[in-house]
């Protein structure tokens, strides 16, 4: 038996009794709850950011569509309609 093995054994006994006590103690549980709460908050803030980004993207998309609508409208207005036949008719009257 060398000292290292005895030391390991002692550490094991110590962990199995005191260590577990510490890990399952009230204070430790409080710490776990705090950590979990922080993680949940982080998740929520990530999701909020994602939503905000999505809204922004939707705004940009809607605006882009509006721009294109205006363009097609302007293009349509820039065309002079062929009314040769109608004018001829009106002249003939």
């Amino acid at each position: 038996m060398d000292m290292k093995k005895i030391g390991l054994f002692a550490a094991g006994v110590l962990f199995g009794t005191a260590g577990l006590k510490v890990l399952t103690s009230k204070d430790a549980k409080k710490a776990y709850a705090q950590t979990t709460a922080a993680a949940l908050r982080a998740k929520d803030s990530v999701m909020t950011t994602v939503t905000a980004v999505r809204e922004g993207a939707d705004d940009i998309y809607a605006e882009a569509q509006a721009i294109n609508d205006r363009r097609t409208q302007a293009e349509a207005e820039a065309v002079v309609e062929d009314t040769s036949e109608e004018t001829e008719e009106s002249q003939a009257e």
Binding site: K43, V46, M47, T48, A52, D58, A66
Partner: protein, 698 residues
Amino acid sequence: MKCTIQHDLPGRLRVHLCCGRMTLSQADVLEYYLLSVEGVKSVKVYDRTRDAVVVYDGARAGVVRALAAFSFAKAEKLELVPEHTSRALNREFEDKLAVTVMRRCVSRLFLPVPITSALAVLRSVKYIREGLLALWHRKLSVAVLDGTAVAVSILRGDYNTAGSVMFMLRLGEILEEWTHKKSVADLASAMSLKVDKVWLQTEGTEVLTDVRSIRPGDRIVIRTGGMIPLDGSVVEGEAMVNQSSLTGESMPVAKRPGSPVYAGTVAEEGECVISVEKVSGSGRYDRVVQMIEESEKLKSTAEDKAARMADNLVPYTLGGTALTYLVTRNVTKMLAVLMVDFSCALKLAIPIAVLSAMRESAGYHISVKGGRFLEAVAKADTIVFDKTGTLTYATPTVAAIVPFGGQQEAEMLRLAACLEEHYPHSMANAVVEEAKRRGLSHEEYHSQVQYVVAHGISSMVEEKKVIIGSAHFVFEDEGCRVPAGEQEKFDAIPAAYSHLYLCIDGVLAAVLCIHDPLRREAREAVKALHDSGFSNVVMMTGDNRRTAESVAREVGVDAVYAEVLPEDKAAFIRAEKAKGHTVIMVGDGVNDSPALSEADAGIAISTGAAIAREIADITVASENLFELVILRKLSQALMGRIHGSYRFIVGFNLSLIALGVAGILPPTTSALLHNGSTLGISLKNMTDLLDEENPSQT
């Protein structure tokens, strides 16, 4: 409520509500409140950011005023929100997805390798166990393949690959569950439509009563074609009840005194009095959900084929893996084959395509009870229309009343209305409306209503037998005759109208001419249906031949069958099916129900009778016949997408395997490409099939 405008475009507004936290139900309240504002086309409320996007085509000032006047407490009292919304469900799955992705990112970025490896081993237990379970049940399913892939990676110490495989599998699981639950919920809320009025029996008379004021113990009367709105038991009479909305069983069940009846089922034939046991809102929605989940309706055959194929491919993949190892003696190459199990891609991508098509159709006010029916619509070459209420407007009017035998016109209308009041058909409604319009009150003075579905009604009024119905029913079945000397008058009745014949004690008393105008778009819609590949558009009607033929010519159908009985409609559909055609039936009334259930896909126009809606596989809530064209295009696009996905998945993954075996791609890369392509095609299959602006033109 105080709000700030964040983004302002003509026809679109994004506002931020200055309130504290917004709960999910508050978001729903706001969404449905804004939707009820005039001119608002669509609303999206984001509860996390407390923002709302309003798309409108009315005046901007109206929307702003509505926003300013809004308060949660006030809007909640308006009860605009339906019983079930999918917001909570979406939130749940969005969160699940987000957590999965975030966990993956965090563990890859921050956690040291030993810990991630330990976590991978822990999580792999589930997949390995499922694989072993499948083997234990002697099934070579996809679970075996997943389990093997995970186990081999872990055993080789390649925790990274194992981790990404499990991550992809998890994402797939969540997406599949989400789409499935969402579409079930959407369907159920579409199907749990309520009847608002019921006939309450009080001391010998019947009163039309709001269903919400019914209390347990009340007796309500249910007649042919009526939906049973509440749970209870039969106390009088006998009826054949169709319970397919609960059990999926299409044969009606006989209900006698003492038998229990369930909310949401429909009386196909007969009449009974029910003693109510449970009042409104007692779990109908949940039952519908359960029914949909239990019935195989959700699965289309293409979906089934994908699932079967996926499982069938497993032995080949395993065999290929073994063979590769035997030939090359190279574990890396062997893994390349194993990592590419295209079965899971098939299992994921194709159901998603089907569910997303069902969701899209709901956007066009079409509710589809199962993917199978979309497939039938895509494949169909014959479409059968019942004329009244489908090709014509659902609201016919009485154009003229021709009395016979010296009867009074008003008196005859009163009598006719009194009988027709109980019959759920648009022609009957016309008579009742006309009586109402002329201010004729028709107290319930007949004692016994007997039903003869589709032909007409017979009843006893003041000891005399009164019948009303079609020529066939009145003259042939019941042997009524035209009063002597009035044959000429009878022949001169205009043929352009549909006719209802009223007889008292076997003698014709009046003919009611019903004007049933064609829908404005009927001709165009029939043409569009022809263009979309229907070779045979058929019109069927109980009307007389002359009227039917003039309508048929006007609409441009290929064939017309006049003076038909409900059985004839069903028989015709059966005959067409026997000839190898796929047949769609479009109808709206009680008399269409046999035909609707006979057809490959029965489509109900939802203004019609409850039974038509219950039996139909697809319900169109809109008044526009072009919805049918949209439905057709949608189904065809869906089938195209399914076949496309199929070819892509098999082709792409086969080449991955080939490249893997050839040693060009390492297993991790092929796994990444495989999973990436699976996710990609699933995401693509979630997108809309039709062009939003111009759905019938794609």
